[in-house]
């Protein structure tokens, strides 16, 4: 069975699928801590410039993806403002690497992730957190023992949403890290590439089917996990 499955997709297609999964997984997991932090800041803190931060977080959602990709190139490219510095001092290079694709996917998915988590945090009654603090819990422990478990369904929803968005990311990725097979050619880029050559439709169709399966699986999984967690934290 496994062999037949492997043969159903050509080696280039497999490469794109594996790369897409790796890029999206890293994009989601690596941005999750920051996503939770930013969501918490937006939900609970009051400070001047809060709307600016909110705007910056949401910018990738409204900008054309190509623009986001180009901005990434300017900032994180090898000659970019920050990219230059990262290359010289730490040897970290994003442009034309799969890590760059992960950064592009993470940034494009970030607003969706933050939004889902922020809604979950806003639904937590601050009075419960106050109660925890009167029982001796410091701010850190209040967050870990009360806030975090209560927003877990929101975090899972946000992560799955971000993962799905990352899988489908195309514009910013292709602008920032191009379309190099094995390096930066994710499923959408591969579909695009196959459609550019005669006789590529079949391969493209197979990748489309894979994309649909991944999306459905992610949705189902999130539904199952969210239901489990909701039962756990829901109080019955």
């Amino acid at each position: 069975m496994g062999g037949e499955w492997a043969n159903w997709l050509g080696p280039a297609e497999w490469q794109a699928v594996r790369l897409s999964l790796r890029v999206s997984l890293w994009a989601t997991l690596a941005s999750l801590p920051l996503g939770i932090f930013v969501a918490y800041v937006l939900a609970r803190w009051e400070f001047p410039g809060k709307q600016v931060l909110n705007g910056i977080v949401h910018l990738p959602l409204i900008l054309p993806p190509v623009v986001t990709g180009y901005l990434l190139l300017i900032v994180l490219g090898r000659r970019g403002m920050i990219g230059q510095f990262l290359d010289q001092w730490f040897g970290i290079v994003f442009s034309f690497r799969w890590t760059g694709a992960a950064v592009a996917a993470a940034i494009m998915a970030f607003p969706l992730m933050v939004r889902a988590i922020r809604l979950a945090i806003e639904a937590v009654d601050p009075k419960l957190e106050a109660a925890a603090s009167t029982l001796g819990a410091s701010r850190f422990w209040v967050f870990v023992t009360v806030t975090l478990p209560l927003i877990l369904p929101g975090i899972i929803a946000g992560a799955i949403l971000a993962f799905a968005k990352a899988i489908g990311e195309f514009g910013a990725t292709i602008t920032f890290v191009s379309n190099i097979p094995g390096q930066t050619q994710t499923i959408p880029s591969a579909i695009y590439a196959f459609l550019q050559v005669p006789g590529g439709q079949e391969a493209a169709t197979r990748l489309v089917i894979v994309a649909v399966i991944i999306a459905m699986a992610a949705l189902l999984l999130s539904e199952i996990i969210a239901r489990r967690v909701a039962r756990l934290v829901g109080g019955t």
Binding site: K127, T134, L135, W141, T145, V146
Partner: protein, 357 residues
């Protein structure tokens, strides 16, 4: 441990200004809603930072604006019982109960889980989650959670307000046991004179952010300045003498005997009873041929003017230091007709009483 509360705080529509030193025991913050009770308790809890003030339990200073000393709530070693329980929905009852213990110092003198569970009768609930509990059960768990945090100060913000009368009657005894069994000072917010009469060692009556009266419950509840003449209540100490076959219990109070319908308390227990001033009839001679059972002997101590057409008569029941004050609201016409004067002996007929076990 004496509780020093000096708080000045100005916020939307209210200027809180309190400066009292409460003796050990249960201190009840009493007053209508909007009088600043919860604000004051939250200042003690550290959930609100007052503009100015000093709060201390004994020599343990929680905050002092003069020295810029401020303990965050997590360092105040509190057991705060909230009006709405505020149990953690994602934790079981057992985990809720033990939550405060995770953070309490190891050497803190803590109640044992078994003892508290036993005291509150919640052993069946331990593995459940709060969502599966009734209102009364939740509130009992909330009390247990506060007790088990090894608190040096217990705060209770109208812990019974969200409950119906039956549940109140179920939970109030736990607070009494708490008062009698635990040496930790308790600050208890209430707007119910029944709860005040039953629980308080000391009452702080708040009105629009200021202390309208401060002292033992008998004194504060009998003060028309705080209660308004209509709500005036006397609090008397009583002791159960015996239960009789005709369905009545015999209570000994200063100045006589009271016969309420049979009480659950065993003989020898001390109780408090409340008598509304409007439910007291005065007579200069021992009443004859009257169906009333509850007749006490006393001496008129004071006569004060009240809202027309009434006057307030304070009757001292019993002698000397043992004497207890009973307030009677009668009309000026009756006062004149009977020619009542301070120093005269008289009889008080109680139309109705409320017994607080």
């Amino acid at each position: 441990m004496r509780l020093a509360l000096q708080v000045r705080h100005r916020f939307a529509g209210l200027e809180l200004d309190v400066d009292v030193l409460a003796p050990p025991g249960v201190t009840v913050l009493f007053g209508p809603s909007g009088s600043g009770k919860t604000t004051l308790v939250n200042a003690v809890a550290g959930l609100l930072r007052p503009d100015q003030g000093r709060i201390a339990a004994g020599d343990w200073v929680l905050m002092d604006s003069a020295t810029r000393h401020w303990l965050p709530p997590s360092k105040r070693r509190l057991g705060y019982i909230f009006q709405e329980g505020r149990l953690f929905p994602h934790l079981t009852v057992r985990q809720n109960l033990l939550y405060g213990r995770w953070f309490a110092p190891r050497d803190a003198p803590a109640e044992s889980l078994e003892r508290v569970v036993d005291l509150l009768g919640i052993d069946r609930l331990l593995s459940r989650r709060p969502g599966a509990l009734s209102g009364g059960e939740k509130q009992r768990v909330a009390i247990g959670r506060a007790l088990l945090a090894a608190p040096r100060l217990i705060l209770a913000d109208e812990p019974l307000a969200a409950l119906d009368e039956a549940r109140k009657a179920e939970i109030l005894p736990y607070f009494e046991r708490l008062r009698d069994a635990v040496s930790v000072p308790i600050l208890y917010v209430s707007h119910s004179s029944a709860e005040v009469a039953r629980l308080a060692t000391t009452v702080i009556a708040l009105r629009e952010g200021k202390v309208a009266a401060f002292g033992p419950p008998a004194q504060v509840l009998g003060d028309p300045a705080t209660m308004g003449a209509r709500g005036l209540v006397s609090v008397l100490s009583a002791q159960v003498v015996a239960h009789h076959g005709d369905g009545l219990s015999e209570l000994q109070v200063a100045g006589g005997t009271i016969w309420p319908p049979r009480l659950p308390e065993e003989a020898g227990r001390d109780l408090r009873i409340r008598v509304a001033a409007k439910d007291v009839i005065l007579s200069r001679v021992a009443p004859q041929g009257l169906s009333a059972l509850n007749i006490l002997r006393g001496t008129i101590r004071e006569i004060r003017a009240a809202e027309a057409p009434n006057v307030l008569v304070t009757v001292a029941l019993g002698d000397g230091a043992e004497a207890q004050m009973l307030m009677a609201q009668i009309t000026r016409r009756s006062l004149d007709a009977l020619a009542l004067e301070p120093g005269q002996s008289c009889y008080a007929i109680l139309k109705s009483i409320a017994v607080s076990p």
